[in-house]
């Protein structure tokens, strides 16, 4: 059973089609990358999976449940960063992570140790007592990812997780994502960075105009070329 599922999902904003009969799955122990041009529907698909959007039609599943009404036993195994992360500017890095841990269902003692471990894992140790509003955009992105993964989810959604990261941060997030997938998690990542996708993903799904227009093999040096060929072919059909 897929850990993350969009089944024939369509959604419109006003008259504009954002998702058009999209079917998408992410399976345990795999990193699935979602790539597409701006406005292709990647973030809308991830928002639907996070339960933040009720699609006009179709079914959405996270660990076998409706994400809009996820029971606690499912929620403790789920993590996501889509758009704004769970980061409060007035709290320090450690405080933000402890809050995230508590909201993910960890008890106070466990939350403290999970926050400490997450600080180390994401290279945020020098800023552990810094308020989030004083962090760089990249470190705030690391903090958001740390908060969404400190409870070791078995289903994880990350929207553009490396968009503001420096090369060191990119490597950290890559190792974190791969580590979770190798531990059995289903990870769905949207990205514009095709090189990064090629390094991290087990499968690549190409989205265009709210539809899945094909899949690409991560290997090979011509990923960018194959991506544009697929998008152009889809464009010519529509």
């Amino acid at each position: 059973m897929p850990a993350l599922l969009l089944d024939d999902v369509s959604h419109t904003f006003g008259g504009r089609v954002a998702l058009d009969h999209l079917t998408l799955t992410a399976r345990p122990s795999q990193v699935t990358a979602l790539i597409g041009l701006n406005g292709a529907g990647k973030t809308t698909a991830l928002r639907a999976l996070a339960g933040r959007l009720r699609p006009t039609r179709g079914a959405v599943g996270v660990l076998g449940h409706d994400p809009a009404d996820l029971p606690a036993h499912g929620a403790v195994r789920f993590g996501h960063v889509v758009d704004a992360p769970l980061v409060y500017p007035e709290l320090t890095v450690t405080e933000n992570l402890r809050c995230a841990a508590r909201l993910h269902g960890l008890m106070r003692q466990d939350a403290a140790s999970a926050a400490d471990a997450a600080v180390g894992r994401t290279g945020l140790d020098p800023w552990r007592h810094t308020r989030a509003n004083a962090l760089s955009t990249g470190n705030r992105q690391r903090l958001g990812i740390a908060g969404a993964t400190l409870h070791h989810p078995t289903a994880l959604i990350l929207d553009e997780p490396t968009s503001a990261l420096d090369p060191q941060g990119v490597v950290l997030v890559r190792e974190l994502v791969r580590g979770l997938a190798d531990g059995g998690a289903a990870v769905l990542v949207s990205s514009h960075h095709l090189d990064e996708v090629a390094r991290t993903a087990d499968e690549i799904v190409v989205l265009h105009a709210g539809r899945q227009v094909g899949r690409l093999e991560p290997g090979g040096a011509d990923l960018e070329q194959r991506f544009f060929a697929m998008v152009l072919a889809a464009e010519s059909v529509t």
Partner: protein, 263 residues
């Protein structure tokens, strides 16, 4: 995770956010400093020979009567409105900024449900309100006691202090429905605008003579801001109606957060 465990976790998170909140810090400081100062200061001004003309006319009610009782009467009147404003600004920030900044979206799919987070926000807000109101009345009572002792007048009584606490709690509790406004409008400024609009509407309703059944007018009228006759017209049903606005507001915002979508 049980409901009680989830609520405990949400309360811990929301308490920390309240402690770090600039809005709460400023509001607390303003309440605790300005209300006692205004209460003692206005009575002193009303009874000084310098109070002439329009100021003397406006402060005429405070020029006579027992000194300490008058201090606490002014405290109750100011607090009935100041607590509404303070809590109103706080809930605009607490609920509205989550939707404006997008962190409300990150609260989906968590072990602690959104409705529990909203309930924790309401409970933390009410606890903060109670602390502020008790502190304000305690500081006013202490300042009044010093002034009264120096003037050889009787010290403040418990009944007046209790009424001032009641006026502050009633006024502050009326701000909880604005948490629902913040959720629906998804705007902090929009919520503050609605709060200001409600204060204006309250003035109009009071001028038209419909105050006692209008919850937002009740705390001020009960505290004597509309005169002794208007205060006497406020009975238990009117007070109960005003007091019911806080739980009704909390229930509405918890429901709205449970059904939140397109975030």
């Amino acid at each position: 995770m049980t409901g009680a465990t989830a609520l405990r976790a949400a309360l811990a998170v929301e308490t920390l956010k309240l402690r770090r909140s600039l809005v709460a810090r400023i509001a607390t400081a303003l309440l605790v400093l300005l209300v006692p100062l205004g209460s003692v200061g206005m009575v002193a001004l009303a009874r000084s020979p310098q109070a002439v003309g329009p100021a003397a006319a406006k402060l005429g009610d405070y020029a006579t009567g027992e000194l300490a009782s008058t201090h606490l009467l002014v405290c109750a009147q100011v607090l009935s409105v100041a607590a509404l404003a303070a809590v109103g600004f706080f809930v605009a920030w607490s609920f509205g900024r989550e939707l404006e900044s997008g962190t409300a979206g990150a609260l989906f799919g968590l072990a602690v449900p959104r409705g529990t987070v909203a309930l924790a926000k309401c409970l933390v807000t009410l606890a903060w309100l109670v602390s502020c109101v008790v502190l304000v009345v305690a500081v006013t009572t202490a300042a009044s006691a010093v002034v009264a002792a120096a003037s050889g007048e009787p010290l403040p009584g418990w009944a007046e202090a209790r009424d001032a606490v009641g006026a502050g709690l009633l006024g502050g509790g009326l701000a909880l429905p604005f948490a629902w406004v913040a959720t629906v409008t998804r705007s902090q400024l929009g919520t503050v605008g609605a709060l200001i609009g409600m204060v204006a509407v309250t003035q109009i309703v009071v001028l038209l003579g419909g105050g006692a059944w209008f919850p937002y007018a009740v705390p001020s009228l009960w505290a004597g801001m509309g005169g002794a006759d208007a205060a006497a017209a406020v009975g238990l049903p009117h007070l109960m109606l005003a007091a019911a606005m806080a739980p009704l507001g909390a229930a509405a915002v918890v429901h709205a957060w449970r059904r939140l979508t397109n975030v």
